[in-house]
Symmetry: C2
Subunit: 359 residues, 2 copies
DNA sequence: GTGAAAGCGCTAACAG
DNA sequence: CTGTTAGCGCTTTCAC
């Protein structure tokens, strides 16, 4: 810990220093660092050279005072223990980085009010907000609208008018799983629901129930659980040990399905034989042989790319008229659900899928 | 997407607006928002009222130009798929938030050079850097030193002089696991190593090897794997299917242990009976009944708290003379390793531990 | 294509 | 305790 060095630490070079070294004005150096400004090639190279020598980088704070762009986008997440979220955060971060944007992280807990959040966002002057958290207040969106702050919601529908949504294929996924379970000749269908009122859980249920009805099956037993692992565990215990035990259980996401899996095994039920348990997301660990969860994928790469695409358009002022972007997923067949006699096939990447119409 | 509203969006109020509304000078409003500045209570309340009415928050960018403090701290992480990292990031974020600091996220990949990183850090004017990533260049630390940027390394030792480290109890943990495995009467010990040269992996091995030697056992077979799941999986396959199969395998972290677990089961070996596999971290999922990994904990809460404590001190200019802070963990006994006949006990929180000296 | 000058929103001396 | 003043580092008209 060189205390001396710290004291004489090199104060970062300013545009002034660079200008002087290059023998030009500060405007010249500003222009060389501004996208699409007109500078003579000769000047530019002189400036660049000086900048490199001094390790100069324009100070974003000072710049943002003028340009009103901080190059920071805030992301709010709640369930970092659900592997889906770190994965998507990583993708978004990686896609934003080459564009010069960085993520400012907000770990929320769902319950808090929007007031302080928006205050902070303005405090930091973020350019946009990604809402990947559950249960934010709709007023937040209204306020962001007023403040002119672009918002993209990830897997989160809202009654409010502001903000554009990027969502997985919830309805179709739920329906596909239902058809798969029907083909597996199950009889008593249940749904382990996520937090009430959260669109992703509701939509998955809607698709599930619709396809069940279409197949002439009874409506599923809906068990309120919530997205948290512990609550899912408790709820799964109730259903699986109760009198009307389902033989097919669709869980609102993989993380909840893992909870259900544990419960089943603890109660002597072999998933895939005595009971079928399926999830949603196709989180990385669901492919682990020990878990081998049958699920419907939410492709993190595609989702992240779409979020970034939409975000960038929004920040560029291009009002997006599509307010909802749906990213398709696919059924991934593994071992926690009984497999139909026909229709199983292999995708190009080696995962297994299922084809309803197959012989 | 109210295009009209966006156009007439309320430009955020400035200190000038507040000053005018409150009938005071801009300095007065600045002072009310500055910690420990002297303002008459009367003035303060008038300002606060005006500020609330206008939803005023001082602009951090402008402020930072003067104070040279951005209130943002950068955190570099590499293995977001290892649950340990999201968990620690979450804790740090939560502990920093009440102090007004926010995390700017850098997802690195280990290989990249430090140059652009440091450039970016200065670009954004971050107040400090948390290095929770693997394999950063030591030059980075030197440069941060020169730039006067406080650095805390999480579980990452470095030959460089700059930066303070917060680390888990690697050596003692490795030793504890060794003793536990010895008590379990194993004979052929192995270590599934993380990336070479990374201190956490090396230290765990050192403790393991030392305790093994002390117990009169042969030195462990060291298998180079790396922290990545896939590579750990491949390496585990090699050892567990090779001629000299160990009966006790210590993996550099839980995530790698999970890989080993899968490999063992796939090869007809029941962990905890035919082979003992232990990890390090005590990541949340290691407690899942399906996984039930015996491991040595790295308490994320304590680790996060320590990081924040150190960070804050550093940013306050208090040069910390302790350059390394070690956070103790504990052995957590579950099902993937054979249990000694004696010495198993239960912690206050219900987890099981093991006591070497017990009857 | 370039430099001079003004100013983004704020804080920190400095007088009072 | 308060207001006035200067200036943080940068971009951006505006003349040239």
């Amino acid at each position: 810990m060189s205390d001396d060095q710290r004291r004489i630490r090199t104060k970062a070079a300013t545009s002034f220093d660079v200008a002087r070294l290059a023998g030009v004005s500060r405007s010249a150096v500003s222009r060389t660092f501004t996208q699409g400004a007109s500078v003579a090639p000769e000047t530019r190279s002189r400036v660049m050279e000086a900048a490199k020598a001094l390790r100069y980088r324009p100070n974003l704070a000072a710049r943002s005072l003028i340009t009103r762009r901080s190059m920071i986008v805030a992301i709010a997440v709640s369930h970092l223990d659900n592997q889906f979220y770190p994965a998507i955060v990583q993708r978004i971060s990686e896609q934003l980085a080459p564009l010069g944007y960085r993520l400012l992280l907000y770990v929320t807990h769902g319950e808090e009010s929007h007031e302080p959040l928006l205050g902070e966002l303005r405090h930091f002057g973020v350019d946009a907000l990604i809402l990947a958290s559950r249960g934010f207040a709709p007023e937040l969106l209204a306020e962001c609208d007023l403040a002119g702050l672009p918002v993209v919601m990830l897997n989160n529908a809202s009654p409010a008018s502001h903000g554009v949504m990027v969502v997985g294929d919830n309805y179709r996924g739920g329906a596909a799983l239902a058809r798969f379970l029907i083909a597996g000749e199950h009889r008593r269908f249940a749904y382990l629901a996520g937090d009430r009122g959260v669109s992703s859980s509701e939509e998955r249920l809607a698709g599930y129930a619709a396809a069940l009805a279409e197949g002439g099956r009874d409506a599923p037993l809906v068990v309120d659980a919530g997205f948290e692992f512990e609550r899912a565990f408790a709820a799964a215990s109730d259903v699986l040990r109760g009198p009307a035990r389902p033989d097919a259980l669709f869980c609102a996401n993989d993380n909840m399905a893992f909870a259900a899996l544990q419960v089943a095994r603890q109660n002597g039920l072999a998933p895939g034989r005595d009971i079928s348990i399926v999830g949603f997301d196709n989180v990385a660990i669901s492919g682990w042989p020990d878990l081998a969860l049958t699920t419907y994928s939410q492709p993190v790469d595609a989702l992240g790319a779409k979020v970034v695409e939409v975000l960038v358009a929004l920040m560029a002022g291009k009002a997006d008229d599509t307010t909802e972007h749906r990213v398709p997923g696919r059924l991934v067949v593994r071992d926690t659900a009984r497999q139909p006699a026909h229709g199983i096939f292999t995708y190009a990447d080696g995962e297994r899928g299922w084809h309803p119409g197959a012989p």
